[in-house]
């Protein structure tokens, strides 16, 4: 049985890794460096990392409390709320982009409100951030919720009886103990934000993020011109992800 399972598993692993590995390894380093130094590419990469970072910070501020409430309290309709949070995973991202435009677009509701204070979303950094936030915040919430759930209720109880207020208990016990999962959720959210394409291309074709640039080059010049950009993007995303993950797992025996 093990042999068959191993075989099936290896086929799948190969399917997941070979295309990426082959593309990365077959690239000419000289062309990669040239591409990397291309001003348009560099700007797109910087924009992507920066926008994803902003989205993650916003997600952290608003998502962590929600994760805590979902982990530690019980209320009617909790499962419904959990379903809502997973919504962005299920909705096609191009449709999600349309939905966001429908609220944040220049002529709509929030778009008008924010427009009055000079913040516009269509084809702007703001639009990229909300698109990234929408599609990647569930990863942060899920991970942080799991982290808070793993914190023993009794530790929080003990803190309360020792005189800690709810706030003190959260800051000194729950949060530090769920820290690993929260960081891990942040990394995942950032990585997902960097890689987002469908919602971003609808909300903001320009300024161009790296995934959109890959698509544009592919559409305009074809596969061979899109490849170096794709490779650089993959390398950056993977490096950040692997490095932070190693950092996080070090010393933890799971």
């Amino acid at each position: 049985m093990k042999t068959l399972f191993l075989l099936l598993g290896l086929v799948l692993l190969a399917f997941l890794t070979v295309p990426v590995a082959k593309m990365v390894l077959a690239s000419d380093p000289v062309i990669l460096i040239e591409t990397f130094l291309d001003k348009e590419v560099l700007a797109a990469i910087f924009l992507t990392l920066y926008a994803a970072l902003i989205a993650t910070v916003i997600g952290f501020i608003f998502g962590t409390p929600l994760a805590y409430l979902l982990a530690k309290t019980d209320f009617r309709g909790k499962r419904f709320v959990e379903g809502l949070i997973d919504l962005p995973l299920v909705i096609p991202h191009s449709a999600a982009g349309i939905a966001l435009l429908f609220v944040f677009g220049r002529n709509y509701f929030m778009g008008k409100a924010f427009g009055a204070i000079g913040l516009k979303f269509l084809d702007s950094l703001g639009g990229i951030v909300i698109a990234m936030l929408f599609v990647s915040v569930p990863f942060l919430i899920d991970s942080a919720r799991d982290g808070f759930q793993k914190v023993d209720k009794r530790l929080e109880n003990v803190a309360r009886t020792l005189g800690a207020t709810r706030w003190q208990t959260f800051l000194r016990v729950s949060f530090p103990l769920a820290w690993r999962s929260i960081v891990s959720g942040n990394i995942l959210m950032w990585a997902r934000g960097i890689s987002e394409f469908g919602a971003v291309i609808i909300v903001a074709y320009h300024p161009m993020t790296a995934p959109v640039l890959v698509f544009e080059r592919f559409e305009t010049y074809g596969l061979d011109y899109a490849r170096p950009v794709a490779v650089i993007l993959i390398l950056i995303a993977m490096t950040v992800f692997v490095m932070l993950r190693l950092l996080l797992y070090r010393g933890e025996d799971r």
Binding site: D152, N157, A159, T161, G163, A164, T165
Partner: protein
């Protein structure tokens, strides 16, 4: 004094009805009941950690039912794993003082006090996951005492420990009891532990308080079959009471034999004779020394190591606890004739509601 009035708690399957418990100042109360009897829930209700469906908790006459746990001055020590794993032992102990923003000097004074009381000075800079069970338990107790609570709640403090740790922690509990005179509620499923430590004992079972009293009372004068069984009073007889004419003493009739008892209880339909209060012999017992003397066949010998249980059919079977020393002297054999005796004072009568 802490008073629990008509406490009702419902959590999932668990349902506690109208529990009334009083613990006097400086008293060490042991609450004992089978696993799953909801003892931890009662402690959490007292501490304000779990929502009540009814009832009140009074602390020194003041109703604290509405107070949040951090305003109650009630410390709780859980059975295990309740040290903050990300803090050192010292940081754990000082946690309560730090969140209350007690000044540094006072912190040091309290730390020194509880550390010497529990002899844990060598542990202060260790991390909880590296401690043994007993060390963890002592650290958790130090943390609970450091905030000078009005009431200390202990949730099965000895159950998760190996024999060595248990002895050590039990000794520390006796120390605390003697030197601090702190009002304490200790819950356990172990009846021996209750007898050894409790000023008073409260038996919990089937979602209610079954009986509260001194260890002697619970042990020798249970007022229900549940308590009698829980206190391992193996011999519980069903029958009827016949009050004797003189008014002093009474008779209890069960299954063909009649026991003499000291005091009558109205409508008593159960008699309890503790197995360690019965004398067994292979020779006829001297009459007159004991009010109840019977004979019968030995129908069971059960070896428990240091002690053994001998069962003799009177006809109703009665179990007698003897030590190995007595066993070797007696040398009983299955089917052999044996004589058993017990004083009237060993017969305790009570009324059991049977519907």
């Amino acid at each position: 004094m802490i008073s629990i009035r008509n406490l009702c708690v419902e959590i999932g399957d668990f349902n506690l009805k109208n529990a009334n418990i009083d613990v006097f100042d400086g008293e060490y109360m042991v609450m004992v009941g089978p696993t799953g009897a909801g003892k931890t829930v009662i402690l959490e209700s007292i501490a304000g950690l779990c929502p009540l469906t009814g009832g009140q908790v009074l602390l020194r006459g003041m109703d604290v039912t509405g107070l949040p746990p951090d305003k109650r001055r009630i410390s709780i020590v859980y059975q295990d794993h309740a040290l903050f794993p990300h803090l050192s032992v010292q940081e754990n102990i000082l946690f309560g003082l730090k969140v209350r923003k007690v000044e540094k000097k006072e912190q040091e004074r309290m730390l020194e006090k509880v550390v010497s009381l529990l002899s844990i000075s060598s542990l202060l800079h260790r991390s909880p996951p590296t401690l043994s069970g007993g060390e963890r338990q002592k650290s958790a107790m130090a943390r609970a005492l450091c905030v000078e609570p009005d009431l200390l709640l202990l949730d099965e403090p000895l159950s998760a420990l190996d024999p060595k740790g248990r002895e050590d922690v039990q000794e520390k509990l006796v120390n605390i009891k003697r030197s601090l005179k702190l009002t304490t509620v200790h819950v356990t499923h172990d009846f021996e532990e209750a007898i050894a430590l409790g000023d008073r004992i409260c038996v919990i079972g089937e979602g209610e308080v079954k009986q509260t009293g001194s260890p002697e009372e619970i042990f020798r004068r249970p007022d229900s079959e549940f308590v009698a069984r829980f206190a391992m009073a193996r011999n519980i007889f069903t029958g009827v009471t016949v009050v004797s004419k003189e008014g002093e003493g009474c008779q209890f009739r069960t299954d063909g034999v009649t026991f003499s008892a000291m005091e009558g209880v109205k409508e008593a339909n159960r008699a309890v004779v503790r197995p360690e209060e019965v004398v067994v012999s292979v020779n006829p017992l001297e009459e007159g020394k004991m009010e109840n003397v019977f004979s019968g066949q030995i129908s069971g010998i059960s070896d428990k190591g240091a002690t053994l249980l001998i069962t003799v059919d009177l006809p109703p079977p009665i179990s007698i606890l003897i030590t190995r020393r007595e066993f070797m002297h007696l040398n009983p054999v299955m089917g052999m004739m044996a004589y058993v005796g017990f004083p009237a004072s060993a017969v305790h009568l009570f009324h059991e509601n049977t519907l």
